[in-house]
C-alpha cells in the first residue's frame, strides 16, 4: 500500500499534526550517535509523534495490518544504531509521550510515560525531595524509555544499580498493537509468574514499544564528596575499590580510567590553567569515587576512603580542577556556555566504543588486548574506562573507546572489525560483548558467538511479542556491520 495512504490512515486515528511523510522531517530521524559514514542517509518512510499509549497502539495496529516496520526513536544518542530505520517503515518518536503520571512520595515510586528525558524526570522529582539515580551522560536528551530499552549505564550504578534494579512495572504496545502491562506494580520484588518486564530491559524495541513505566525512586541525599587517586596499575586501582567496598563504605560512583584517559584529564588541565598537574609518571590508572548521604557520614566516608586509597598504593589527585572536570563531564554537565564537551571534542573524529563486560580478574589482560586489537585495525585509541553498574560490588561495564574518522568509510568498516574482535575477546575471557550499548544494528546474529543456542530461544520469545517481525527489524538478530561466525 502506498505510504501516503498509510500516513492518512494513521492521521485519521491520532491527528494529522502528529504524522509526516515530509522528507526533511524524515531526515532528522535518520541516525543516532553510532559510528557510520558521515553521509549515510537511511530514512524512515514516515514519522509519527504520538502522545498516549493508545495512540501508539493505533499506529502499531496499522503497521501490523500492512506488515511495515516500526522503529522507536527517543533521544537519538545511542551508540549502536538501534534507531536506524534500516528497513524503512514508521519511526515512532516516543518523546511525544512526555507526561509524568504519578510521583508517589509515600511508596517511593514514579510512574511516567517513557518519552520524558531522564533530566526532566529528575527535575520534577527534585520538587518532591526525590531522585531517580539513573544517570547516563546523555540525560538532558535521552529518555526513560531509552534507558529501559537500551539498558544503558549510570554514573551511580555502583550504589543504585541499573534498570533491572529500578523497573517495577511497564506498559508496552506489542507487535500486534496490543497493550500489555508487565511487572509487579509498586511492589519492589515478586516471585510470581515470569519477570517479563525484565525482558524489556535492553530489548531495543524489538518486543514492542514501552510507553509507561513505574520506577523505584529515592529520597535525595543531603550532600556529596568526590575524590580521585592515581595508581601504579589498573589492578591496583581495582584492588583499592574492592577495599573500599569490603570496608563497608557505600560508594556512590566509581570509575577507573586507564593511563590514556588520565592523559585527557591532565591535558585539559594544562590547557585551561597553563600549569603542569602534579601527577607522577608512574600513574597508570586513575580512580574517581564519590560518596553521598548526610554530611557527617559523607565526611567520615571521604576521610576513611582517602586512608584506604593511600594504603592501597593510591596517591590523591591534588588538583581539584581535575576532579571537578570529571564530575562536570559525568554528572552535572554544567559546561561553560558555548563550550559543551560533546561537539567540541568531536570536530574531526567521533567517539566509538566496544562496551564489554569483563570478569574482574581479567581486566588488565583485556586492556592489553584492547591496545593490540586497536593497533591491528589502525584505530586510534581514546582509552579505557571501567564503570561499575551493580549495587555495592565491583561490576565492570567497560568502555574501550576509540576515535573514528566518519568521513572515511574504510575507517568506519575497520572500527566495526575492531568491535568484532573486541567482542570475541570479551566472550573468550568469560565476559559479554555488550554492557551499555546493546546489539543495535551491529551485533545481531554475530551475538550467537556469545549466546549460542539461547539465541534461538530469544527469537521464539520475539515471535510471541511480535509475530510479524515488524518491531525494529534488522536489530538484535541481524547486523549491518558484523557478520555471524560461519
Amino acid at each position: 500500500m502506498e505510504i501516503q495512504k498509510i500516513a492518512e490512515e494513521i492521521a485519521n486515528k491520532i491527528g494529522e499534526e502528529k504524522v509526516s511523510t515530509e522528507k526533511f522531517h524524515r531526515m532528522t530521524y535518520s541516525r543516532d550517535w553510532s559510528p557510520r559514514d558521515a553521509k549515510e542517509t537511511i530514512l524512515p518512510d514516515l514519522v509519527v509523534v504520538p502522545s498516549t499509549t493508545e495512540e501508539v497502539a493505533e499506529v502499531v495496529k496499522i503497521a501490523h495490518k500492512h506488515r511495515i516496520p516500526v522503529v522507536p526513536f527517543a533521544g537519538g544518542t545511542g551508540m549502536g544504531g538501534g534507531v536506524s530505520p534500516v528497513r524503512g517503515g514508521i519511526t515512532i518518536d516516543t518523546k511525544g509521550l512526555n507526561k509524568i503520571l504519578e510521583i508517589d512520595e509515600k511508596n517511593l515510586t514514579v510512574t511516567t510515560q517513557t518519552g520524558v528525558t531522564v533530566l526532566n524526570l529528575n527535575r520534577e522529582l527534585e520538587k518532591h525531595g526525590l531522585w531517580w539515580p539513573h544517570d547516563p551522560e546523555s540525560k538532558p536528551s535521552s529518555t526513560v524509555g531509552a534507558a529501559v530499552s537500551c539498558d544503558n549505564d549510570s554514573t551511580f550504578g555502583i550504589k543504585y544499580g541499573k534498570l533491572v534494579d529500578h523497573l517495577l512495572n511497564a506498559v508496552i504496545v506489542t507487535g500486534t498493537g496490543e497493550i500489555v502491562r508487565l511487572g509487579h506494580r509498586k511492589a519492589l520484588c515478586t516471585s510470581t509468574g515470569y519477570k517479563l518486564h525484565w525482558l524489556l530491559i535492553g530489548a531495543e524495541g524489538t518486543l514492542g514499544i514501552v510507553t509507561e513505566v513505574t520506577l523505584k525512586v529515592f529520597p535525595k541525599p543531603e550532600t556529596r564528596a568526590v575524590e580521585a587517586a592515581v595508581f601504579k596499575s589498573i589492578s591496583e586501582a581495582i584492588g583499592a575499590l574492592q577495599r573500599l567496598l569490603t570496608a563497608g563504605l557505600s560508594v556512590e560512583s566509581a570509575h577507573i580510567n586507564c593511563k590514556k584517559r588520565l592523559g585527557f584529564y591532565t591535558h585539559a588541565y594544562r590547557e585551561k590553567y597553563g600549569r603542569e598537574p602534579e601527577i607522577p609518571d608512574w600513574a597508570e590508572a586513575l580512580l574517581f569515587v564519590s560518596f553521598n548521604g548526610d554530611e557527617e557520614v559523607v565526611r567520615f566516608s571521604h576521610q576513611y576512603a582517602l586512608r584506604i586509597l593511600q594504603e592501597s598504593g593510591g596517591l590523591k589527585v591534588k588538583e581539584q580542577e581535575i576532579i571537578d572536570g570529571w564530575w562536570t563531564s559525568k554528572h552535572t554537565l554544567k559546561f561553560e556556555p558555548y563550550k559543551q564537551k560533546w561537539p567540541d571534542s568531536q570536530r574531526t573524529k567521533k567517539f566509538g566504543a566496544a562496551d564489554l563486560g569483563i570478569p574482574i580478574g581479567r581486566i588488565e589482560e583485556a586492556y592489553q588486548k584492547f591496545l593490540q586489537i586497536a593497533e591491528k585495525n589502525q584505530i586510534e585509541v581514546l582509552g579505557m574506562c571501567v564503570y561499575n553498574e551493580r549495587p555495592n560490588r565491583i561490576s565492570p561495564s567497560i568502555s574501550f573507546a576509540v576515535f573514528v574518522d566518519d568521513s572515511n568509510p574504510d575507517e568506519v568498516r575497520r572500527f566495526y572489525k575492531y568491535v568484532e574482535e573486541m567482542s570475541k575477546m570479551a566472550v573468550d575471557l568469560g565476559g559479554t560483548m555488550s554492557t551499555y550499548i546493546g546489539d543495535g544494528d551491529r551485533l545481531g546474529g554475530f551475538n550467537r558467538y556469545e549466546h549460542g543456542e539461547a539465541l534461538n530461544y530469544m527469537k521464539k520469545i520475539k515471535e510471541v511479542f511480535d509475530p510479524e517481525n515488524i518491531m525494529n527489524p534488522g536489530k538484535k538478530f541481524e547486523s549491518r556491520w558484523i557478520k555471524p561466525e560461519k
Binding site: E17, K18, S20, E22, K23, F24, H25, M27, T28, Y29, S30, R31, D32, W33, A38, K39, T41, V47, V49, F73, G75, G76, T77, D93, K95, G96, T117, L119, N120, S138, P140, S141, S142, L333, P337, Y338, K339, Q340, K341, W342, P343, D344, Q346, R347, K350, D406, S407
Partner: protein, 372 residues
C-alpha cells in the same frame, strides 16, 4: 550555498548527536518533531548540502520556525544560529521567501521601518529633547520604540541627558538596523541597508552608539563588525550606560517601589551579548524592590518566542511560547514581569492578555524612572 561555509559545524553536529539543545528549544517544544530543534535543522542543512533534500515552502517554514534565541548555541560549541541564518539566506536566494518577512523587508527598504509607518514620523517623539548635532555619541532609537513605545524613548533619552550625556540623534534620517533582514535571510538587503547606516554614522562623526533595543544592540555590536569592514564604533546598551551612571552616583533612585518583581533576560541582550548583570544592578538599586529569579535565567532564560521573524510570520506560535514564559514568571510569586526589550514586551503583552495572567508587565527603565 552559504551553508558550505558552516560545513564543519554541520558535520560536527551530525557526528555528536548529543541533543543537549533539544528539550528546551522553544519551537521544538511547540512543534514536537526533531526537525524543529537545532540538531534537526543541522541534519536538514546536511541534507541540502548533499542534495538529499530539495528546498520547498514546507522546508522554509520548518527552518523559519526558530526564534534565533540562541539557547541551542549556549548548550553547544558550534555556530548554530549563524548556520540557521545562512540556511535561511540560501532559501531566500533560491526564491523561497516567507511573505510576511518579504513584506517587512520591502517596508524597511521603502520607509526605514517594518511597521508600515511613514518615515517622516520616525522622529516625532524627539520634539523638545536637547540633542546635540556635535556629539559623537549617538542615540540609536531603532524602529519599535519610536513608533510603538514613543513615551519610553522620550523619557529614556531625557534620563541619559540628565545623567550628563551629550547625545546626537539622526531623526527621520535614522534607518532600521536590519536585524529582521539578517535573521530571516535577506542578506543582500541587510548589506545594502547596513551600508546606508554606516554612511550616516560616519557622516555624523559617530564614535559611540547607545541603544535601548536588544535586537538593534546585538546587530550593531556583533553583526556589523562581522559584515562591514572597519566598523569601529563602540556600541552600548542603555542598561550598561545606566548601570555605570548608578555606580558613578549620577543617578540616585530614592523613591521606594514596594513590589516583588522577576526579570526576563531578552535573548539578544542576555544570551547573545551576555549583558546579564547590568539590568539586575538597576533593579537592585531601586529601594523596596524584591527581585525573584525565574527558574531559567541568564544563559538558561527561556525565549519569549518573538525573535528571528517569528512574530511576523508565526504570531500564534510566538504567543504560545510567551505564555509559557509568563507562567514561569508567575511561579516566582512576582507581581511584575520586568524586561527591557520592545519585542519581548509586545509579545508578553499579548500572552498576558490571552492567558488572563495576573502578572503586570513593566519595562525596566520605566521602573527606574518611577524611583528617581
Amino acid at each position: 550555498m552559504r551553508i558550505e561555509e558552516y560545513k564543519d559545524d554541520i558535520y560536527t553536529c551530525n557526528r555528536s548527536r548529543c541533543g543537549f539543545c533539544r528539550e528546551a528549544c522553544p519551537t521544538y517544544q511547540e512543534m514536537g518533531f526533531e526537525s524543529y530543534s537545532s540538531r534537526g535543522r543541522m541534519l536538514i542543512a546536511r541534507g541540502l548540502l548533499e542534495g538529499v533534500l530539495e528546498p520547498s515552502k514546507e522546508l522554509l517554514d520548518c527552518v523559519n520556525l526558530c526564534a534565533t534565541c540562541g539557547y541551542c548555541q549556549s548548550r553547544c560549541a558550534l555556530r548554530n544560529v549563524e548556520v540557521f541564518e545562512a540556511l535561511r539566506a540560501d532559501l531566500v536566494e533560491q526564491g523561497f521567501k516567507d511573505e510576511y518577512h518579504e513584506r517587512a523587508v520591502e517596508e524597511i527598504k521603502r520607509n526605514g521601518n517594518p511597521y508600515l509607518k511613514p518615515r517622516n514620523e520616525r522622529a516625532a517623539w524627539a520634539d523638545g529633547i536637547p540633542f546635540s548635532k556635535d556629539a559623537d555619541t549617538l542615540l540609536f532609537a531603532g524602529c519599535t520604540y519610536p513608533y510603538i513605545f514613543p513615551d519610553w524613548l522620550k523619557s529614556s533619552a531625557k534620563l541619559l541627558i540628565d545623567g550628563g550625556l551629550e547625545l546626537n540623534y539622526l531623526g527621520n534620517e535614522e534607518n532600521c538596523c536590519g536585524s529582521l533582514m539578517l535573521t530571516t535571510g535577506f542578506l543582500d538587503d541587510f548589506t545594502e541597508n547596513g551600508e546606508k547606516n554606516l554612511h550616516a554614522f560616519r557622516e555624523a562623526g559617530v564614535k559611540r552608539i547607545i541603544t535601548g533595543c536588544p535586537g538593534c544592540y546585538k546587530i550593531l555590536a556583533e553583526d556589523y563588525p562581522k559584515h562591514f569592514e572597519n566598523f569601529d564604533i563602540e556600541v552600548e546598551h542603555i542598561t550598561q550606560v545606566v548601570a555605570r551612571m548608578l555606580d558613578e552616583g549620577k543617578m540616585n533612585p530614592s523613591k521606594p517601589v514596594e513590589a516583588i518583581v522577576t526579570y526576563h533576560d531578552p535573548c539578544h541582550l542576555g544570551r547573545h551579548m551576555r549583558v546579564f548583570e547590568e539590568p539586575r544592578k538597576i533593579l537592585e538599586s531601586i529601594p523596596g524592590l524584591e527581585l525573584r529569579e525565574m527558574e531559567n535565567n541568564r544563559f538558561d532564560a527561556k525565549c519569549c518566542g518573538a525573535g528571528g521573524g517569528m512574530m511576523a510570520a508565526y504570531p500564534e506560535i510566538a504567543v504560545k511560547i510567551a505564555e509559557k514564559r509568563v507562567k514561569e514568571a508567575e511561579a516566582t510569586g512576582a507581581e511584575m514581569l520586568v524586561t527591557i526589550c520592545p519585542i519581548c514586551e509586545f509579545n508578553f503583552e499579548r500572552a498576558i492578555r490571552y492567558s488572563d495572567s495576573p502578572i503586570k508587565l513593566v519595562d525596566l527603565m520605566e521602573l527606574l524612572k518611577e524611583s528617581l
